[in-house]
Every structure is written in structure tokens, then in C-alpha cells.
Symmetry: C2
């Protein structure tokens, strides 16, 4: 099974919303995904309905004291498994700092434990290409890049492209990537302009499924729920169901 | 004149959009603001119409080799002055690392040079509370916190509140703050719910001016323009003009 990093250094493009609802989509397709929350904001942890996590029980304990990931996994209400984050994760970047091996801690930690279960692993990243995100990119087989249908977010993808190409030459392997357009508001000309530019530049790396702008997607995390449990009849639920099926069919999680 | 950091570790809440259009509003009110771009994405630099910046001419040169900020300031097309950013800024966090003095480099660099001009200084921050943003918060007299009218962004403010209180006790001074609600879509119940929660918790720290959701605000950076030069008759221009006046009147920039 594949490990997928969900990343774009542009903030607020729908990384967590995509991680939450793709995880829920995979759970509903009996794929039993495991999520790792690598964002100090711990929004994926929160949206999974998990509160008051102690640092020793979070992914911080893995980075700080080498606690095995398998001991940090817990079950979310909706059925998937998650290694939660806490705020202290923000200190890891400075803590690990310039250490050459700092970037591959997660890759080594994953290979010994979680990958044995055969479940797809999704990693929610913070909006910064620092040591935490480097860990996610080196541990991942593939990268899913959410791009919201606006100009500054499109900028983020060009930048990320450059960073991934640099990483590929260092790793001497290809990092397969897919781009998914989020917050697509069909009432706006800008949305179509951005979608066309993304397609023009990234061709068939762009998912056919576009996630439309839908207030239920912005509301569900408030109730610690994914879109399928919160508003199953909403356009948001239909879009994320379609995205889950499109990615499953293309073997993105294999 | 005051130094203002524009920060919320939640991504995509309108930090750069607020920095750009407040800077433009201050320029139109003849306050000749100076902007410092502390985001490795360099979106404020881009939205100011500045392209192809070399590292030695950017704020990276200040952090890396101590080049005086006054030598790095340049004029944007629309009239304000800016110290631009480049991608290499992302490496500063790891470079400065654990050094106790790393957080006050900008404060020391500013006091000797730019503050003498009497111009208000605005700092656009990246969505991560690392060493770069610590520099902004320690250099700032006040913090302006954009909160977009959605749940995850509201979460960010609670977290930031805790971090600023910790910083205040370390600095033994108050860090005055104001919250501004952005991307307010009056067609959504969620927007009013979030606005009420922000008011309930932060009282008169919340600006009376709300910035409404307006596609012109998402489009103007694509043309390297602020909202006043791009769409002067738009609701976005009216909102940012009102915000500029409200903050000027309350002495926020003094
Ligand atoms: N398709 C959508 N329709 C409406 N709102 C959305 C949609 N996708 C995301 N949002 C809202 O936009 C905001 C940003 O999304 P989200 O937090 O998932 O982005 P992110 O990339 O994870 O942000 P960060 O960079 O802070 O980690 C959230 O409040 C979310 O609820
Ligand atoms: N009032 C608004 N109406 C419509 N779109 C907006 C508004 N404010 C911001 N946006 C759009 O939302 C996106 C996020 O805004 P912006 O980039 O300013 O946020 P940010 O907090 O600076 O993001 P980051 O965390 O990546 O630095 C941008 O594409 C911007 O154009
Ligand atoms: Mg997120
Ligand atoms: Mg920004």
C-alpha cells in the first residue's frame, strides 16, 4: 500500500479538508487508512473528533524520543486510525535543525511498523517546506497537491514543482504527484481561468474531479465530522466520493 | 510610528491580501508605509509587482549576512517601499535554529534604520510560528490577526492567543493585538456564527470593519496590483478603505 503526502506550501488551499474527506472516503471503501497529522495546528486531529492529546501520546513523541509509531496510533470515531499531533510539533523543526538524517526519521519509522498492515497511509502537512514536511515527502510514495482555484495558490504549485524536482535528483527516484483543484466556484470566471492554467501546465497529473466550493465542507470540522457523516447529500460529499473513486481506480493508493 | 506584524498561523486567512491592501490604503493616505515580506512564498513581493529578486537584494541578505535593511528597501510601482523576500527565506529557520538571539535580529535591525523615517512598518508573515515569525512578533509594536469566517481559522486565533500571552510574559511587555474578520460571505450562516464567536471572545479587539468575500480581492494579485488600482469600485476596495480609516483613527499605526 502507498504512503501519500498531502502538501502545498500555500496556506488554506484545502490540505486538511482533502485529507479528512479522502480518509473518510477510503474508510467507507473498507481500505482502513492510517493518517499521520504532521501539522502543529493539529487540525486533522481536531476534525477527527480527537481533543486534549498529551504530547507523549502524539507524533511529537516519535520525533522527540523515538516512540514507535504503532504505539501512537489511535482509532478515530469514524473508524480510521490516526497518529495525532499537538502544538509542540512546531518545535521539531528547530530541534532537528541541520542534522542530515533529520529528514528521513519518518521514512525509517514507517517502514518498520505501519506499512506492514497493507493500509494506505495519508500524511497531512503544514503549510511550510521545513523539516517536518521534508519528513513527509521522503516517507511518501506519492504527493497529492491541493490547489484552490485562485492565483496565489497556483503560484504555490509552481514553487512546489521546483522543490520536488530538486528532491527527486537527491533521492534518485521519481516522486509521483497528482494535483486536485479545490474550492472551485463555478460562478467565478477566475475559477475557470485557474483550472485551465493548471491543466495547461500539469496535463494528466490533474485529477478530473474538481472539488466545488461548498459551505458544508467548511462546517463539518466544527462538529468533528467528515463530510459523509455530516452532510451526506451535499455537493462536497459527492465531490470527495468521486475523488476517492478516481484515485482508487487509477491505483494511486497501491 | 508603529511596526505591525500581520500574522495567524492558520494558512490562507487573508494575511497577504490584508497586508497588500492596507499598505495600499496607507499609501493613498500619504503615510508612506514600508513593508517587510517575511514569507518564503514571497507573495507580498509578487503582489507588489516585483519579480526576479536576487537573494542578495532580499531580506535573506539581512538574516544571512547582516546587510542593513535600509540598503534592501526598494520602491513598488504603486508607491510604497518594500524589503522583498525570496524562496531561500525558508532556510533561515533551520539556519538560525536554537540560537537564543535568533529571535531578535529583526528588532535590532529595524531600530537602527527604518524606524527613523516615521513611516508605519508592516510585516507579512508566513503561516508558521517559527524563527521568522518570532522575529516579526518581537520586532512588532502590535499584531493584526486576520481570521477568515470559518471554523478552522477561528481555531488558529485561540492558539495564537496562547502563544502571544507566553511571549508577553517573556518580553515583560504587552503585545497589543487586533482581530479582523476576512472572507465574510453574508450568504452563509456559518459566517455570522464565526463572527459572533470572535466578538464574544475578543470583544473590542475585533475591528468593526469586516472584509467581505469578493473575487476582485482574489484577482488583483494576479495583475501585481492592489485592490484600489485594480477594482476601485469593488466591495473589496470599499472594505479595505474602511479598515485603513478605522485603524488610522484608533491610532493603531502611531
Ligand atoms: N471545497 C471547499 N468549500 C468550502 N470551504 C472549503 C473547501 N475546502 C476547504 N474549505 C475551507 O477553507 C479553509 C481552508 O481549508 P483547509 O484548512 O483544509 O486548508 P489547509 O491547506 O489545510 O490550510 P493550512 O495551510 O492552514 O493547513 C477551511 O476553513 C476549510 O473549511
Ligand atoms: N476577502 C476576500 N475575498 C475573496 N478572496 C480572498 C479574500 N481574502 C483573501 N482571498 C483569497 O484567498 C486566498 C488566501 O488569501 P491570502 O493568500 O491573502 O492568505 P494568507 O493568510 O496570506 O495565506 P498564507 O497562509 O499562504 O500566507 C488568496 O488566494 C486570496 O486571493
Ligand atoms: Mg491544514
Ligand atoms: Mg500570505
Amino acid at each position: 500500500m502507498a504512503t501519500i503526502a498531502i502538501f502545498n506550501q500555500k496556506g488554506g488551499v484545502g490540505k486538511t479538508t482533502t485529507c479528512l474527506n479522502l480518509t473518510a472516503g477510503l474508510t467507507r471503501a473498507q481500505r482502513c487508512p492510517v493518517v499521520i497529522d504532521l501539522d502543529p495546528q493539529a487540525h486533522m486531529t481536531l476534525a477527527s473528533g480527537i481533543h486534549e492529546v498529551r504530547q507523549e501520546e502524539s507524533v511529537v513523541a516519535f520525533f522527540k524520543s523515538g516512540k514507535p509509531l504503532a504505539q501512537l496510533v489511535r482509532q478515530a470515531q469514524a473508524g480510521w486510525e490516526i497518529v495525532p499531533a499537538t502544538l509542540e510539533l512546531a518545535k521539531i523543526d528547530v530541534m532537528l535543525g541541520n542534522d542530515a538524517k533529520a529528514g528521513s526519521l519518518l521514512r525509517n519509522g514507517l517502514s518498520e511498523e505501519l506499512t506492514l498492515t497493507g493500509a494506505p497511509i495519508l500524511i497531512d502537512c503544514c503549510p511550510m517546506l521545513g523539516v517536518l514536511t521534508l519528513n513527509a515527502l521522503l516517507a511518501a510514495d506519492r504527493v497529492l497537491i491541493p490547489v484552490s482555484a485562485d492565483f496565489l495558490s497556483l503560484q504555490g504549485v509552481h514553487r512546489l514543482e521546483v522543490a520536488l524536482n530538486v528532491l527527486e535528483s537527491r533521492l534518485k527516484r521519481k516522486i509521483e504527484r497528482r494535483v486536485v483543484v479545490t474550492r472551485f466556484d463555478a460562478r467565478r470566471k477566475l475559477a475557470f481561468e485557474i483550472f485551465d492554467k493548471v491543466r495547461e501546465r500539469y496535463g494528466n497529473l490533474v485529477c478530473n474531479t474538481r472539488i466545488s466550493e461548498n459551505v458544508s465542507l467548511a462546517t463539518s470540522p466544527m462538529h468533528g465530522k467528515d463530510i459523509f457523516n455530516f452532510a451526506p447529500a451535499s455537493p462536497g460529499a459527492a465531490d470527495y466520493k468521486a475523488l476517492t473513486l478516481e484515485l482508487l481506480k487509477s491505483g494511486f493508493f497501491d
